[in-house]
Subunit: 345 residues, 2 copies
């Protein structure tokens, strides 16, 4: 079998995480950035929380009030109707989220058994983050760990940069991609003098969400955008595709594990091999997914039928993949690097 | 009266422009970038063309085929229904345009009587421009004229950078803002060591199109995005707002003439005064529009009820404004700078 899932899956669940607020419950822990830090493996978990007190007559959206620096709860009349998408409350004044996410550090020596910090590593803290922060990716460059994450607010979905050297203190550097954009991963080294990142802008009129590549001289300012990989009609990549893991150097090339959703929002993982010197050129691609939702914990949850990764380690000839299952739990799987390479054509 | 329109309006009309192709007719010339070049005033006109042969049973979308380097015509069954928006053909496979735009230079000594070049200055020429190029803004920095324009394709609406020193030869530099983004204007000088630009991303879910500001070290790579001015519910700025003219230095500040559309797509022009050293800070703003569509040539046309500018000259204590009227013609108006300043509060 290509993908070997851990028998311990899910390795981190909601009940392993302390809520941040007496009126919130943790409904999901998923989509974690991952990095090896000293002897430990560190996950930067996305923890989603929602209000405990639900109402039959209203949806409740938890919103960070940046001016007052406190959590507030927006009540939106529901007329008893269930939500079409459990994640989003659509109104004529815009969309709101049913949960709010923050980041929590989890540490492990063996990569399977994790201890989750009691307190958040990063929570909503700016006007661009009032609906929460989501889906961190971690890229180590020199001795700095750069964290790119999605910031959600009534100004849209933006990609923000933060950094840390110790996973205790975090510095925010501001917005690196304008709305809407998410699934940004920065390559771990300069290529011919430039940094590169994969990103996934959302277009409103003419296209579906796809994977683009941009260059930078200083990690803050990005440009020379190029489309890297587009969606493909009537396939597992028809709906939307975006980068998942930070690209890994394999020989002369860059291996990227990305995600794709079909028209029914079923999220799988795929693999791409990019040119080492010109990373905007796709050398090879796996035609079919390298991982599909099939286990019960992947098929059912807050948002079912989803395997979604924000990070992997490439060690011992394997891709050690941490992934979010059904937007609910963190799971672990291993894939032999040579088997992935065999699938690329 | 605040705005003094030229008696010669419209100063450039479709019939003043030679079509580029035997199967196309010019249906609009509007939204021109403007700059003083030697003794002349140069306009970089947006010229919109559509297929002459219309059909009762199909909409026809003119599309540039980048691979073959030729114009093609896509026929989309119409079932006889008129389009909701005359500019856009919506299909389940995405949106297409009813016209394709390119840029044409027009030259004048007096700023009113223009001679339009016989041939395009720039036309669709890359895969990102297959639906045309639109709405150029020209910023002179040192002795180079930088042109930022919208490139439209099935990959979305992107902002591209080009440059010229003679308005004869143009060099493309690539995409500076990812999709969807338009209405990008670059400030004419560095501020504390950084270039700045106003831009207008389109968000898909959480917000309306609004004016953002970004910084750059090299004009190609942009970041540190901040929201500058948002839409305001139930006002003339409710629907969408974007930068129009390249900001003009007025004393210690930057004056920006921008556009705003209300919920009914009525486009007006507004005025903003930005901090000279920190251009992401709005010092003052005109509460009401400084210009509204009211003349017959502004009220009716390909897309009526529109005044929309891509450039102005600030000379002789006046804003000399070139603007597109009803997406159909180029018009001219003057506004005393002191009168605009009086409206700001």
């Amino acid at each position: 079998m290509l993908t070997v899932r851990s028998d311990s899956n899910p390795i981190i669940k909601s009940e392993d995480v302390t809520p941040t607020h007496p009126e919130l419950e943790v409904i999901g822990v998923f989509n974690a950035g991952v990095i090896r830090y000293n002897q430990e493996i560190i996950l930067l978990l996305r923890v989603a929380e929602r209000p405990i007190s639900l109402s039959d007559h209203a949806y409740i959206s938890p919103i960070y009030d940046a001016e007052m620096n406190e959590l507030t709860f927006l009540s939106i009349p529901s007329q008893g109707a269930p939500l079409e998408d459990a994640r989003v409350i659509s109104t004529k004044d815009g969309n709101f989220l049913t949960s709010i996410s923050h980041f929590r550090v989890a540490r492990s020596m063996d990569g399977i058994h994790f201890k989750v910090d009691e307190l958040p590593a990063m929570s909503a803290a700016t006007p661009y983050e009032t609906y929460g922060i989501e889906d961190a990716r971690i890229t180590k460059i020199d001795d700095i760990y750069y964290i790119v994450y999605s910031a959600i607010s009534n100004m849209g979905i933006t990609a923000c940069l933060a950094s840390t050297t110790d996973f205790v203190h975090y510095t925010r550097h501001g917005l690196i991609f304008h709305p809407d954009n998410k699934d940004v991963v920065i390559f771990p080294e300069k290529i011919n003098g430039k940094y590169y990142a994969l990103h996934r802008p959302t277009t409103s009129q003419f296209s579906t969400p796809q994977i683009w590549i941009a260059q930078s001289s200083n990690l803050m300012e990005w440009g020379n955008h190029k489309l890297l990989l587009g969606t493909t009609k009537d396939t597992w990549e028809a709906g939307r595709i975006g980068a998942s893991t930070v690209p890994v150097k394999v020989g002369e090339h860059w291996l990227e594990i990305y995600h794709a959703a079909d028209a029914d929002n079923r999220y799988c993982l795929g693999a791409l091999l990019l040119n080492g010197e010109q990373p905007w050129i796709i050398e090879k691609k796996a035609e079919l997914p390298i991982m599909e939702p099939m286990m019960p914990y992947e098929l059912e949850g807050f948002f079912g039928n989803v395997v979604f990764s924000c990070g992997a380690l490439c060690e011992d000839g394997k891709i050690k993949l941490y992934y979010g299952a059904a937007d609910t739990t963190i799971c672990y799987a291993e894939i032999e690097l040579s088997l992935i390479m065999d699938l690329l054509s």
